[in-house]
């Protein structure tokens, strides 16, 4: 079994559960997303924790923090807790912060294991461009958000939006290095790049959505669990993370089976 082909096939296959929510009637779409989000995040969290056991040092830490981030991301998807969240805004802020801290720590460790010195000039230009675009989006979207939300959320939200940009900039080198080496030696991990791409997509999904639809950032949360395109984007990003982690864990086994097959003249 060629793990790279399996991964590509699985990524394509994951478009189905991601896009299906767009086609479902509202009431079913609601239940579908309420089940799918926590389920995928739970599975991904477990997979990330399992993957962390095959590494040491910074790379193990990256997967441990990714796993914790994925586990914590389950909580916003429990609709039955939303009344509790509304009554305890400080808890929400704390939860958001802890969740984001996990992702930031994961990104820092990813950056530590990434050979950024190998990034080409074009790559650095792309990173700079992404930083500028991120800042422009923030400048455009942040003031209405701050006006919309109560005072308690203003500072945490501002910092979270800034962190979104920082996380994307920290993770971009992984994708760029993979793209750079894809046609040469292909030494960068296709599965790790898929995982990181999933994380990046989950971070920028809401921004992509508001840019395309022209909505304001503060309007986006009401579209969660409605079978919207935003749900679809988030679902796909988490599914990317899940399949990336799954194939990553199976890579040794499947890769070796492929070698065996080649050696036996298959």
């Amino acid at each position: 079994m060629n793990p790279r082909l399996v991964l590509k096939a699985l990524i394509l296959l994951m478009l189905v559960p991601a896009l299906i929510c767009l086609l479902l009637p509202d009431s079913i779409a609601r239940s579908y997303t309420q089940i799918m989000f926590p389920l995928i995040l739970l599975v991904s969290g477990i997979l990330a924790m399992r993957v962390s056991t095959i590494y040491t040092n910074w790379l193990r830490n990256a997967f441990v923090f990714l796993s914790l981030f994925l586990f914590l991301m389950i909580f916003p998807h429990f609709d039955f807790l939303w009344s509790f969240y509304a009554a305890h805004p400080l808890f929400v802020v704390l939860l958001q912060w802890v969740t984001y801290a996990m992702l930031v720590l994961c990104s820092i460790y990813v950056l530590k294991v990434t050979e950024v010195r190998q990034i080409s000039g074009k790559g650095w230009l792309l990173i700079a461009a992404m930083l500028v675009i991120g800042i422009v989006i923030l400048v455009y979207h942040l003031p209405p958000v701050l006006q919309y939300y109560p005072a308690v959320y203003k500072l945490p939200l501002t910092l979270i939006y800034i962190l979104d940009v920082a996380i994307v900039v920290m993770l971009m080198p992984v994708v760029l290095l993979y793209a750079q080496q894809m046609r040469v030696e292909g030494r960068e991990s296709i599965t790790f790049t898929t995982i990181v791409s999933g994380v990046i997509l989950s971070t920028i999904a809401v921004y992509l959505f508001v840019i395309v639809t022209g909505l304001q950032l503060y309007e986006a949360p009401r579209l969660f669990h409605t079978g919207s395109a935003l749900d679809s984007l988030y679902l796909f990003s988490y599914l990317l993370i899940a399949v990336g982690l799954y194939v990553h864990k199976k890579y040794d086994e499947w890769g070796f089976a492929q070698i065996e097959q080649a050696l036996s003249g298959g």
């Binding site: 056991t53 790379l59 193990r60 960068e188 790790f192 890579y251 890769g255 492929q258 080649a262 050696l263």
Partner: protein, 369 residues
Amino acid sequence: MGGEGAANLEKLIDEVWSLFLDDLKKKEHPQIRATFGDEVNLFVPQVRLLLPLHANPRFPISLYTASYLGARRNAYAIMRKLDMPPDFFWKFEYWTNERAFEVLSKVINRIFSEIMRTTKEGLLSVENASTDPKEIKIQLALAECVECFGVSANHPVCYYHAGTFTGIISALLGKELDCYETVCCATGGATCEFMVVNKGKGEELEQYLNPATIDFALQKRLAGALDGQTRPSIGSEANLRYYHLVLLNSLITNPKLFSASSYDLGKEYGKNVVQFLAQYYQKQEHELLEVVAQYYRVLKHLQLELTQGTAVIRAAEVAEISGLATSADFLGFLIGELEGIVSVLRHEPLRCIEPIFEGNELILKLKPQ
């Protein structure tokens, strides 16, 4: 390395690697030589390495480096041919010891053992891979080693394999590694043992690559080869592709210079071998022409046509160039050897004018020096 000649040899090395990887994937191909087939007696490649090792103190490091670079360059071809994912060893330095040991042992035991068995280079295994990914120490054991089987020497001699193992493992792991031989059958070991370590670690490598004069018992080994001395499991022959790689790697550092020096070594060897064969087969002088032809036949080296009094040597199925682009550079040692032999037989120093290639035949016209 020496310019265009080295670049051509590099291409040939890559071509040979590609060919024996086809063998590994069990692809059918026509036999390289009609009579002798695809194999040559172990003695033929051995003598091509042992004589320069004895004569030139820089030869060990040159052979090791050339083999390392050739294998490293071709490790990607191995990965592609065996459908091995190029990112299989991604971030090896962060692997847990347990995983590093398990996967590396599996890959080495399966792929390299298969390569070594297919080319009849020996029986390879990971003996004791204490692979802390940050402090790599991989111990490889090669039983029935093609490079030194039957040889008695005062120093380990398997530089080609030390370089080749390091080149492949370095490329797989994406790390700069070194390798030295800790035990060699030539010095009395039961197997040849190699230690692959991080680059620049330890004095062992320094000592290994810069030995004092390497002495070995040439006549004893030649007698063993002619007696049919054979390895218990994989016989007394090696794949021609292995011989080609040995040959090309022994020249690539400076093809013209190394070809010229191997010509001198060959000539000296040729002169001595006639006397040895006369004693070994206990033949009179007039019978030596047949003895020499028999010597080459037994070793599956070439088919020699040598007539009394003639100054023309015709050789067919020459191991050095069969299945490989013909070049006089590969033939320095052989031309010297044949010149030496015929000079002794004709009791006058002879020199080859220019080698001529006719189909699969090599024709050497000799004239008095």
